[in-house]
Amino acid sequence: MVQSAAMKQRLVFDQLSCRLQVDGLPDVSVGQSGTALGIITGWSLQWVGRPLLEGRREHLQALMQVVFPYARHLISGVRRDFSVAGEPVDIGPHAEGGHRLLLRSSQPDTPPLEMRLDDAELADLVRVLDQLRLDPRLQLPLAVPEPEPLGPRELLERIPLRRRLTAPLGGAAVLAVSAALVLLLPPPPQPPLAPPAAPASEATPAGSRP
């Protein structure tokens, strides 16, 4: 027990609005020692004036898996919800501005916790997670999605649906009105019919027949 306590490591990352604290141990089975952290035993995220968030490694990874893609999409101006099926963390734009972080507890009878973050708090959260991810003392793989360029379809989400539909619907309406107006125009007057010409057989002299 004494040995275990001496090997215990704590990584702390501070920003103005939050502090991320990760506790763990070096994974001696793969030869880690000293200040390395190969096993996460717990973590906590402390916000100014908000409840303390705590969890296991899976929860930290779930937080990273939604926060990083959300931040990456925000840089391109795309605001949409991010969640991973079966994972306890969701993030997305808040209806009243800012960002909504939803955390579902694994404890029964505990309602989900919803937090509203402003842009500065979200940037702080991204920075502490970046600091953890890139810390050389953290020697365990945390699966984080690689940022990828967005395609035209995803970028279209930047434009609200109403504005996206305005141009094609407006064009279709103008086309329909134009077609209706064209149909209402009176047809042009028909030119008078020429008198029918005499049949050629009557005009031909009888003696000329073979």
Partner: protein, 194 residues
Amino acid sequence: MDGAAGIIAVMAKDISDAAIQEPSSRALPRRGLERLDLMLLCMEALDLNGGEAMVWLSEQLGYGSLFPNRVELWKRRCHNPLRRTCRRGEVPASETDALIRILCVMADRLYPMLRSLLSSNEPEEVARERWALFQQRLGELVQERMNPRRSGVQKLLDPSDGAAQRLQLVRGLSLCAGHGGFDRIKASLMDAVA
């Protein structure tokens, strides 16, 4: 300044290590170059010595061979199609990567200012004054260097229409500050044209 130089030196080593590991990548599209230059312009609007800081950072980060002087740095930024004197052609990926690294380190240095612009906890009057000052400085730089006949420039200069774009630029800078932001901002600058 010694302390800052020490931090930059450590970052430079990390960055050069990262650069060695990076696979060869594609060059940025014109739209990406436009956004990159605008973000660098925002840094200059936030930091009165931003232009000098960029040259100094370029040397500190080991990009002296890519940008041996400020003119070379300026020539790369002139590939922004919104510039008054716009240059044609592609910028090699190594050079755009270097510009993005410089941007990320500058955003990291100026993060407190970016954060104060974005925070909703600041008094409203103070926040309004900060944004007004930023808008004024950015407007002066844009008028000086960009082509005023381009609709993108006119929109950026518009006090009301350009507000959302300025907020988007500052938000993007706050999310790409530091080492971890490089991949995010690079992926964003490589976005397809919508």
